[in-house]
Amino acid sequence: MFGMFKKKEDKIEVGSPVRGQAVPIREVSDPTFGDEILGKGVAVKPTDGRVYAPVDGEVSLLFDTLHAVSITGTGGAEILVHIGLDTVALKGEHFTAHVKTGDTVKKGDLLITADLEKIREAGYDTITPVVICNTDEFAAVEGVTGSDVGPGDTVLILTKK
């Protein structure tokens, strides 16, 4: 699908970290994400627990609770992938990390595996917000939503200032 679009220099495309359904970030019930306190972004309702790198870059922070990971893209975007809501409270249970802080990753590299079924059984929403922590540094952050996505399919388009 990527080859169909000619990339412009002033745009950065962020791929979906998971397979699922892309929805507007405002649909996330947690106001931390829905009200864009962490930045603008998008959310994916995952159907598969394998979480992949959304861009080429570096793992700037793998939370030690493994429920979230930040990637700093080679284009300068600071992307937070937060698997589920309030899942910090699981303290790492049901998550397996495949990378560590400081690792260089390519788009599509496996970062974390989440056992979605167990997480849901434990009472957590598995919706996965993908947030641009440095939204201020971009002219625009637009979500591409309303459809089923596979890992790597574009879910956010960032316009450089």
Binding site: T32, I37, G39, T101, C133
Partner: protein, 85 residues
Amino acid sequence: MKSFQYVVKDPLGIHARPAGLLVKEAKNFSSKITIKKDDKEADASRLMAVMALGVKGGMQITVTAEGADEDAACAAMKKFFEEQL
């Protein structure tokens, strides 16, 4: 320059939500606000940097504010930590 020390009470520490709220608060001021944990420092207006400090419950941090509104900034940050963390 104004500063204070604080020991984080929330066992989960400065994870995504409190970090987001902290950055939002810090951006209300023109002063440069810095959070220091051991030998690591983060600009309080940068979410990723704040989260990367990896502050957990029981850890001590030092918050400094430097600039025109440093008194107000320091007071607001102190209030934020006491209420949220």
